[in-house]
């Protein structure tokens, strides 16, 4: 069976430490479970045999004392095991709380919205600040400081392959460290119930070599290229004159609203609608026409476009690379 997003399918320093802790606790728990059930089974077997021989229940002082010693022993053993458990857990906790290695960390501000993700890459040069939506790229081998924010309800940021989750809580600033140790492409999902479309609030994670990451970063920093062919130009007009402009940003145009996901490079993204549909022309058309069919309750309104306008709009969006 293939699962996506198993906590044991680790690709990062933190997730690796956690998976080791998980196996340790599971192993010890299994032993404890088997021992307790075995004791119960033995007790019932012994008692059954005694019942068959017609013996009475014994609770004379000598028996009680013997039983007391056994109960005490079992309690002492469990206490020792629990002490080991607390120690190992605290060690793992310390290990994942801070970045490993001395490399300059990358800082990403993550804002959860009902029901999409906004990522802002911080840099010492303000002109290098980058803003994207629903797609997170990180370089392999470099610690990433994730700052979690929310402007509406509580969401939870979770990439199981890299780390456990942290909540994005309005009014609070939550921080976590993660680091990818190998390249990969994963799907991450919101983990805190956040309303109608909690189920469809995902994003794509791409961990790649620092070189490729830099390439991606530079291409995303660039403003969207103005369309050249007439159909795409018409599509741009459709975008700017209809409701689209009310919520979305396309860099280099008048569209600068931050209500919905940023679309400057929408054509390069693997998926749309916060990771819930593959980014194909067909899906995009369905999504624009009636998002409520795909994500009931989503804040994007339906758009009754003529086939001509729709075609032009799709042509325009496809130029946003």
């Amino acid at each position: 069976m293939t699962w996506t997003g198993s906590i044991f399918d680790t690709a990062g320093t933190q997730a690796e430490r956690i998976a080791r802790l998980a196996w340790f606790i599971i192993a010890v728990s299994t032993v404890v479970y088997v021992l307790v059930l075995a004791a119960t089974a033995l007790a019932t077997r012994r008692a059954r045999a005694r019942t068959a021989r017609g013996e009475l229940a014994d609770h004379d002082p000598a028996t009680e004392q013997r039983l007391g010693r056994h109960v005490l022993l079992a309690t002492a053993l469990s206490t020792i095991l629990l002490l080991v458990y607390v120690t190992v857990t605290a060690r793992t906790g310390r290990a994942i709380a801070w970045p490993t290695g001395a490399r300059e960390p990358l800082t990403i501000e993550v804002t959860g919205h009902q029901w999409w993700w906004e990522f802002r890459y911080r840099d010492s040069l303000p002109s290098n600040w980058l803003s994207t939506s629903n797609e997170l790229h990180i370089p392999v081998g470099r610690p990433v400081r994730v700052i979690l924010l929310s402007n509406d309800v509580i969401h939870s940021f979770w990439i199981p392959e890299l780390h456990g989750k942290q909540d994005a809580i309005p009014g609070h600033r939550n921080t976590m460290w993660l680091q990818a140790d190998r390249a990969g492409v994963w799907k991450a999902r919101c983990a805190e119930f956040c309303g109608y479309q909690h189920a469809k609030m995902a994003f794509d994670v791409v961990a790649e070599s620092p070189g490729r990451f830099n390439q991606w970063y530079v291409s995303q920093l660039a403003s969207a290229q103005p369309p050249t062919d007439t159909s795409a130009k018409h599509g741009e007009d459709v975008f700017m004159q209809r409701t689209c402009i009310m919520c979305h940003t396309i860099s280099g145009t008048q569209a600068g609203s931050r209500v919905g996901p940023e679309l400057s490079h929408i054509a390069t993204r693997p998926s749309i609608a916060a990771g819930s549909l593959p980014n194909t022309r067909d899906n995009l058309a369905r999504w624009i026409l009636d998002p409520q069919l795909i994500k009931p309750g989503v804040h994007m309104p339906p758009n009754k476009l003529s086939p001509g306008d729709m075609n032009a709009l799709l042509n325009y969006l496809e130029t946003l690379k």
Partner: protein
């Protein structure tokens, strides 16, 4: 109330005189006839029984909701239930199970059995008891009127603001939830007061605190926990309702409020809540283990102290529900350690039961099977709980399907299994009829297998990355087969419960055949006829040891001197249970219902208009005046009793 001491005399008495006593007591203690009698009853057994039936009705409703959830998730991208309905279903399922089933049912079992086990005729405040039931009923009906009118709460059973706040949950859905909470908290606090006062003041002479049955201890400890924990959720739900109705901003970060404040308040109640449900189950397990091992439970003192320490520790764990919020490292480790600590007293109790079985002469009846099933399932719940209490691992597992898997092992294994064992164990006492053992074993195995087939896949799904509370998922996640397995398990659970219902229906249709003490029980409830008479004991027994009915003293000694022409109960001292006073209990009355209706009008109308609180205050005041109106002095129908020697 008089402080006259009472005299003790040996039992049994002569048959004819006994019958006369029975007639006199029956006349005084029975409910009024017909519907009016049902409404005005202040008898602890009548009220507790209807409360138990109500709780199981809510259990069935919540079970149907769970079944719908499982059908929706059985395959990827199922379009049976949309997000709006799905969110209502899981919210109402969780809220019903926690607030309308689990807490009321354990408290009702206590209110039914505790007076019988400690040898008294009624609970301490009979009218308050009736009031508690009516508020609980109104709160529960409110929630379901909401659900069936598409106004069911849809914010999750722990209602995190800002999602549950006015901005992101407009409409009345969350208000209905918040008021339902208030109703059930009133009922829970009332029941806790009943139990504590009854146990501390009305025990049979000789039942000093160190002779109180473990079952009764568990209920007393649970009641103290209710008194500490419930005010937090009642306060929190009032604050939420005020945020929503009159624009206070307790939980609104934009106005200086704090969304995390809710989580602290909620979980300071919410974590003890699990133990409020679980500790009474431990009491039931102790009763069953003792009777069917034919020896007193090993380690009485250890078990009582364990339950007390579980109760204290459970108030120090709430933060382990919040490990994914911004918290300092040291604080987190503290809560991991506290969570590990609570495993010790829980372990002690399991070891003591195993020791009891080991040295006993057990009979493997259906109640005993449910206890063994409890050990096997609850242990999985406890060990997965330790996985969740480890901060780093919790960060991976929290808010995934691991959570529903874990909590259902805890609640079904830790509470429902002992409760069903208790149903089989006490059914003859309540109805005078035995449940079928073969059908009982059938439902046990269906349920035992059903729990594992339903919830083990959910543990795996959580580790496979499936978040909880999603109404759908795509096929490429690979979560389909495990979800289908879980749904099949849910069908087994349903089947097991249907077999149980058939078993109960068959038994009720048969002739009473159980007799007073079909199992050879240890505690006092088995000393009276089944079903128990309205007055419980014709003579209040005198207790000489922990195992009241297993003492080698021959017939039970009894107290005399209580009036038979009035509802009089014997009060005893708190520690040693020495006779202290005779106290007259109230006759049947409708005033508790009127008071509950006043509270109902206030809280429900208050959802729509704050003026309700002014009007409701007046109504409640009027109801309480009627409630407290002095009763006319009763004529003396009998000579003042003889002065004791």
């Amino acid at each position: 109330m008089t402080a006259q001491p009472v005299r003790t005399e040996p039992a049994p008495r002569e048959q004819r005189e006994a019958e006369a006593v029975h007639d006199r007591l029956e006349r005084v203690w029975r409910n009024k006839p017909g519907l009016w009698g049902w409404i005005t009853s202040v008898n602890h057994k009548s009220i507790a029984l209807r409360s138990i039936i109500t709780a199981f009705a809510f259990f069935a409703l919540a079970g149907v909701e769970a079944a719908l959830i499982r059908v929706q998730l059985a395959r990827p991208e199922n379009s049976l239930i949309g997000p709006d309905k799905y969110n209502q279903l899981f919210t109402v399922h969780g809220s019903t199970m926690m607030f309308l089933f689990a807490v009321p049912v354990v408290q009702s079992v206590a209110l039914y059995l505790v007076p019988m086990m400690i040898g008294t005729r009624n609970v301490a405040f009979p009218r308050l008891n009736a009031f508690g039931y009516w508020t609980y009923l109104i709160g529960g009906v409110l929630l379901y009127v909401g659900l069936f009118t598409n106004t069911g709460p849809d914010q999750g059973w722990f209602s995190y603001p800002p999602l549950a706040g006015p901005e992101f949950s407009p409409g009345k859905r969350v208000d209905i939830w918040a008021q339902m909470i208030t109703f059930t908290e009133i009922a829970a606090i009332v029941a806790a007061i009943e139990i504590i006062a009854t146990v501390f003041k009305q025990r049979a002479p000789g039942m000093s605190l160190n002779r109180v049955p473990l079952f009764v201890w568990s209920m007393v400890i649970m009641s103290f926990m209710v008194l500490v924990a419930m005010p937090f959720i009642a306060t929190a739900s009032m604050m939420l309702a005020m945020d929503r109705l009159i624009a206070t901003q307790f939980f609104n970060p934009a106005e200086g409020g704090d969304a995390l404040l809710w989580q602290h308040l909620f979980w300071f109640f919410g974590h003890p809540e699990v133990y409020i449900i679980f500790i009474p189950a431990l009491g039931m397990v102790s009763s069953i283990v003792a009777t069917f091992s034919r020896r007193p439970v090993f380690g009485y003192t250890a078990i009582v102290l364990s339950m007390v320490s579980v109760a204290f520790l459970s108030f120090g764990l709430w933060v382990h529900h919040m490990f994914a919020t911004p918290l300092p490292q040291t604080g987190q480790s503290f809560f991991t350690a506290a969570s590990a600590m609570i495993a010790v007293p829980t372990g002690v109790q399991i070891f003591c039961w195993i020791a009891t079985i080991w040295s006993g002469r057990p009979r493997f009846t259906t109640p005993m099977l449910f206890v063994l099933g409890f050990i096997a399932l609850f242990l999985i719940g406890g060990l997965t709980g330790l996985m969740l209490a480890a901060v780093p691992l919790d960060l991976q597992l929290t808010d995934t399907f691991f959570l529903p898997g874990h909590i259902h092992y805890v609640l079904l294994g830790g509470m429902v299994f002992p409760l069903l064992g208790g149903v089989f164990y006490w059914f003859p006492k309540v109805t005078g009829r035995m449940l079928s053992e073969s059908l009982g074993k059938l439902s046990f195995w269906l349920l035992f297998i059903g729990v594992n087939v339903t919830f083990f896949p959910q543990l795996l799904l959580g580790m496979a990355g499936m978040p909880r509370r999603v109404y759908t998922y795509t096929a490429d996640t690979g979560w389909g087969p495990l979800n289908l397995t879980s749904t099949i398990g849910a069908a087994l659970l349903a089947l097991g419960l249907i077999v149980l219902v058939v078993n109960i229906a068959r038994a009720l249709a048969s002739e009473p055949n159980a007799g007073a003490d079909p199992w050879g029980g240890e505690t006092l409830e088995w000393a009276m006829a089944s079903p128990a008479p309205d007055y419980n004991f014709a003579y209040i027994p005198i207790v000489h040891g922990r195992s009241a009915l297993w003492a080698d003293t021959g017939a039970l000694e009894a107290v005399s001197g209580l009036r038979e022409d009035r509802r009089e109960v014997l009060q005893t001292t708190m520690l040693d249970a020495e006779p202290d006073a005779r106290h007259e209990h109230p006759d049947p009355t409708v005033t508790p219902l009127l008071a509950a209706i006043a509270v109902g009008i206030t809280l429900i109308w208050g959802i729509f208009d704050p003026i309700a609180f002014a009007v409701g205050g007046v109504l409640a005041f009027a109801a309480l005046i009627a409630w407290g109106w002095p009763r006319p002095e009763k004529p003396n129908t009998r000579e003042i009793m003889e002065v004791p020697q």
